[in-house]
């Protein structure tokens, strides 16, 4: 057994099995709860990452101005950029460390879900090498993979579409932070379309348990993003919905008022 399996994968696999057993034998519920727990554990890193992203985005106009000013002098440009980063109190590699810490945990969670679902006979056999010698683990296996009428082992078209939708909203929400740099904005816009498409494609071929994990993860990220920096790139859509609701409310009020006026007239 390699070090990855021993230190990271095995604990996550066994915790997921124990969680399924504790949550009424529901694997789907266990995936949701484990995704929430891991997001909570990684919250400090995520917040740091969000802060750095936000500050970097805010600096984009200044960086663009510097690029214009020192376009040909790369050395001076780099020096000025470093100065700017220092003044803002951020390290250019500030996003990297939290990402490096989070990455193995996300990969472990992803692998654990795949392993615990034990789609094929080989996977189930393989799972036996990962489980702890605990009564509760042996009683729980193999897990019941039905959740809300869906078999978490098979791919599911509706869940695949939901993955795409939540991914799109999540990337859209963070997209306005790169305003000020047209090239970056263009790239972000492209990502916000390509990324969900890629995940829809993958969800249609991989087990639904993974789709569930991606959906919950995207929702949690959106909630965190909302509390940190508001609706972000979704703000125009939110405003539009609000104004539509406002108009319909106004219409309803005026209709109610008109009908009550009519009643008053007829009474007279």
């Amino acid at each position: 057994m390699d070090i990855w399996e021993l230190i990271i994968l095995r604990p996550v696999v066994n915790f997921l099995i124990w969680l399924s057993h504790t949550l009424f034998g529901s694997f789907g519920l266990a995936v949701i709860v484990l995704t929430i727990i891991i997001n909570l554990i990684l919250l400090p890193f995520t917040l740091k990452q969000m802060k750095t992203s936000k500050l970097t985005a805010e600096m984009q106009p200044k960086l663009a101005a510097l690029q214009k000013k020192y376009g040909n002098n790369q050395q001076a440009l780099a020096q000025e950029q470093m100065k700017l980063y220092k003044e803002a109190g951020i390290s250019p590699t500030g996003c990297l460390l939290p990402m490096l810490i989070q990455m193995p945990i996300w990969v472990a969670l992803y692998q654990a879900i795949m392993r615990v679902m034990a789609v094929s006979p080989e996977s189930l056999l393989n799972l036996s090498s990962l489980v702890y010698n605990w009564d509760v683990i042996f009683k729980a296996l193999p897990l019941k993979t039905m959740f809300l009428g869906l078999n978490m082992v098979n791919s599911n078209f509706i869940l695949a579409l939901l993955v795409g939708a939540t991914m799109y909203l999540q990337t859209k929400m963070t997209s306005n932070q790169s305003s000020g740099n047209a090239q970056l904005q263009q790239q972000t816009q492209m990502m916000s379309i390509m990324m969900p498409l890629m995940f829809i494609f993958m969800s249609m071929t991989l087990p639904a348990g993974l789709s569930l994990y991606w959906i919950i993860n995207a929702i949690i990220r959106m909630v965190m993003q909302y509390f940190y920096s508001g609706w972000g790139g979704l703000q125009p859509y939110v405003d539009k919905i609000k104004s539509l609701l406002h108009i319909s409310n106004k219409k309803n009020n005026s209709v109610t008022k008109a009908s009550s006026d009519n009643k008053t007239v007829s009474k007279k």
């Binding site: 094929s120 006979p121 263009q186 890629m198």
Partner: protein, 380 residues
């Protein structure tokens, strides 16, 4: 500007494409590629092998040469999707032990079909067990000359007419059936993931009795005279009265406690029930009392069922080390062959010869049990 846009699109597609490949690759590693592990079967002259590429091979038992062209099986669909790691669409993977009767070979496919083959005439027929076509068949097949009996992942055991493959009866258990049924004297014994062992009438599928263990059961039951033995995922072994389903004993763990699943089917050798475990140990149990008499730690998981030749037990671990164990000589054990390959398939004995179907490198090995000499091997 337009050129820039195209470049961006290309770069983003490349980045996302490589991410998709990485995730898919990750899923391959974590979800484990499928090879199947059907053990070979034999008649007087030939050895029949269901390959992981969906072919039935007929090998000469003496020298392992191919006798007929491999019969390619056309299944419903591939066992894995576009990003899966198995074989292409239409490839059938076989796990269960096939059955031969009257010149016909019966095999159960992972695509949910039961197939019949007339290898010499290059003919095949098939029958879908699960009507929803979503359930696989992992179980092996047994027969009584009139019907064949096979378990399905839809939780039912099916009795099919030998010639027409029409369903004669089916009995639904509470969960998947992966084990090969055992047939004796008009009774079909089968184990299920629902923790239970069932005794059913071979005639009409009516339930005679059932016996519940504390865990799912994948190993086939083992019958000797009036006792049926069952090894469970609950890390225990049970002896049950074959007539009425009453428990005779449960494994006593004073000597040692098994640390993992009993996946492989145990064998009886003399006065002992020899049960390999996924924890890498071979547990030898007194078949009349249930007392554990001996433990041999081979240190590698064992998912293949052993065979008994000349009062010795032959067992192979999942890295291809073949051992002989002599219960009559203080459980003395010797490694007789190192095949250096992955083996999950049950061993098959024919006289003094042992046939091993390895996975991944997909080879059939014929080893002489008396001296460990490799007689021949054939790469499938």
């Amino acid at each position: 500007m337009k050129k820039n846009k195209v470049l961006h699109l290309a770069a983003t597609s490349l980045l996302l494409g490589s991410m998709a490949v990485a995730v898919a690759g990750c899923s391959c590693n974590t979800n484990v590629a499928q090879y199947g592990w059907a053990p070979p079967v034999f008649d007087d002259s030939y050895l029949y092998v269901a390959s992981s590429e969906g072919s039935i091979l007929t090998l000469n038992k003496v020298n392992g040469t191919l006798t007929y062209d491999p019969l390619k099986v056309k299944g419903n669909s591939g066992a894995s999707g576009l990003l899966g790691c198995g074989y292409g669409a239409g490839t059938v993977i076989f796990y269960g032990s096939p059955y031969i009767n009257d010149g016909l070979l019966y095999a159960s496919g992972y695509d949910g079909n039961v197939y019949t083959f007339d290898v010499a005439k290059q003919l095949s027929n098939k029958k879908q067990l699960d009507e929803d076509k979503s359930m696989s068949v992992i179980s092996g097949i047994v027969g009584d000359g009139k019907n064949i009996y096979v378990g399905c992942s839809d939780g039912s055991i099916y009795a099919l007419d030998n010639t027409t493959l029409e369903t004669v009866w089916s009995y639904e258990t509470g969960d998947k059936i992966w084990s090969t049924p055992v047939l004796n004297n008009g009774t079909v014994y089968v184990t299920s993931f629902d923790h239970s062992l069932y005794a059913l009438s071979a005639e009409d599928g009516s339930l005679k009795w059932s016996f519940a263990t504390d865990g799912p059961v994948i190993a086939s039951p083992v019958l000797e005279e009036d006792t049926i033995y069952v090894a469970s995922f609950d890390r225990s072994v049970y002896a049950v009265n074959a007539g009425n389903g009453e428990m005779k004993w449960k494994l006593s763990t004073e000597l040692a406690s098994p640390r993992n699943w009993f996946w492989a089917t145990p064998v009886i050798c003399g006065n002992y029930l020899v049960a390999p475990n996924n924890d890498g140990c071979i547990y030898s149990i007194d078949k009349t009392t249930g007392k554990m008499e001996n433990v041999i730690d081979l240190e590698k998981a064992i998912s293949s069922s052993p065979v008994v030749i000349n009062n010795k037990v032959y067992v192979i671990d999942n890295t291809g080390n073949l051992y002989s164990i002599d219960p009559s000589n203080g459980f003395n054990f010797t490694r007789i062959k190192e095949l250096e390959t992955t083996v999950n398939s049950d061993l098959v004995a024919d006289g003094d010869l042992i046939y091993v179907h390895s996975q991944k490198d997909e080879t059939i090995y014929c080893v002489n049990a008396l001296n460990g000499v490799l007689q021949w091997s054939h790469e499938v």
